[in-house]
């Protein structure tokens, strides 16, 4: 059985991040295991977990305020920075999951949604190219990689490849040592 984190689970973790909504209904405070939210009053913004925001959205009970990094200007700057920096530029750890969920379920709340979608894609492409470069530069003797600012989904795409590769290398090394040891033992044993 596989226990490795899946893409769906990565999305699950993204859903517990907080996001601002503007409700259009009235409801008292609600005490959930993951926190206390509300009271909900029409037109008064408040923060709730993303899963709750999307549920309310589906019921047409709120408007979702996209996170600040999903703003047109901020995002185009981000793409430029990403193009210029060598490592990964700083971005929300769950930027892909969050933006894809919002672009699917809260389209009408996102201004310039098609441009935003394209910019996210650009950003992802630039970052994936960097990941490909990292893979190309991999060497078996250098088994430590700095990946600061890599996002959750990008890490997922690397996980299996990197973990399998390096574990196989150390397995081969161990086998070699074992064979060496056995040889030495045989030689040491009296004939």
């Amino acid at each position: 059985m596989e226990i490795e984190l899946s893409m769906a689970e990565t999305e699950f973790f993204a859903e517990s991040q907080l996001i601002t909504i503007v409700p259009n209904f009235r409801e008292d405070q609600i005490i959930l295991l993951c926190g206390q939210f509300g009271p909900f009053r029409p037109s008064i913004p408040l923060d709730v977990p993303l899963w709750l925001a999307i549920f309310l959205k589906k019921q047409h009970k709120c408007q979702i305020v996209p996170p600040s990094w999903m703003d047109l200007e901020v995002l185009s700057n981000k793409v430029e920075v990403e193009r210029k920096t060598e490592g990964f530029a700083e971005i929300d750890f769950h930027y892909l999951e969050t933006s894809s969920m919002l672009l699917t379920h809260a389209q009408e709340d996102i201004k310039h949604k098609s441009v935003i979608g394209r910019l996210i894609q650009d950003l992802y492409d630039l970052r994936t190219a960097k990941i490909r470069d990292i893979i190309k530069e991999l060497k078996p003797e250098n088994s430590k990689l700095k990946l600061t600012n890599i996002a959750a989904i990008e890490l997922q795409t690397l996980r299996r490849l990197l973990v399998c590769t390096f574990d196989t290398i150390s397995q081969i090394n161990r086998k070699e040592e074992q064979v060496e040891d056995e040889k030495n033992n045989e030689n040491a044993a009296p004939q």
Partner: protein, 199 residues
């Protein structure tokens, strides 16, 4: 720790357990507290809602509950998978305080079923000196043990500074950094000092 922090801590525990090559210390306080909360809430939710408002609130409670239940079972199941994989090894450990009483119970039963099955299907057909499931000195180790040099992805929660490595350049771990690194290089920073988390 407040309830909301406990849920966050459980999320981190699930990620940690899934990525970690060894079986980590059972988060007994955290898990028992959350199981208690989930059970009392489930009881409260059994009352049928009457008004649409109650129905709406009930739905929210249920979704929140389902998420925490998923995390709990995911945590426990990840551990069971590892206990099964390393059963022969865990049984031979002097100290199994990293397991919960229920997990020890599971391990004992699993071990006896597995060894009985091995005996019935092939061990009794082998020459006498090959029958033992225990590895003896000088022989190849037959049990699967956790590979502590397995590579993991880490996220630095608190500044650590320089970490020495055996055969290559030292690394510097600053808050927020993400590294791909052999587990045993940073193990105490994860399990004891909690300055690093697995992602």
């Amino acid at each position: 720790m407040g309830l909301a922090e406990e849920v966050l801590e459980l999320e981190a525990a699930v990620r940690r357990e899934k990525a970690c090559p060894e079986i980590l210390m059972y988060e007994s306080d955290l898990i028992e507290s959350l199981i208690g909360q989930v059970e009392s809430r489930e009881k409260a939710l059994r009352i049928d809602p009457i008004t649409p408002e109650e129905q709406f609130r009930g739905l929210l409670y249920q979704m929140d509950l389902d998420r925490v239940k998923y995390l709990l079972s995911s945590y426990l199941r990840s551990r069971l998978v590892k206990i099964q994989a390393y059963a022969l090894w865990v049984v031979r450990q002097d100290d199994v305080n990293f397991l919960s009483p229920q997990e020890i119970d599971f391990l004992t039963k699993y071990y006896s079923i597995k060894t009985n099955h091995f005996k019935k299907t092939f061990l009794l057909g082998l020459p006498n000196d090959l029958r033992s499931l225990e590895s003896r000195k000088g022989q190849r180790v037959i049990e699967v043990s956790p590979q502590l040099d397995k590579h993991v992805f880490i996220k630095v929660i608190d500044d650590v500074g320089r970490v020495q490595t055996e055969n290559s350049a030292d690394i510097y771990l600053e808050k927020g950094d993400i590294f791909f690194i052999p587990y045993n290089l940073v193990k105490p920073l994860i399990t004891e000092e909690r300055k690093i988390d697995l992602v």
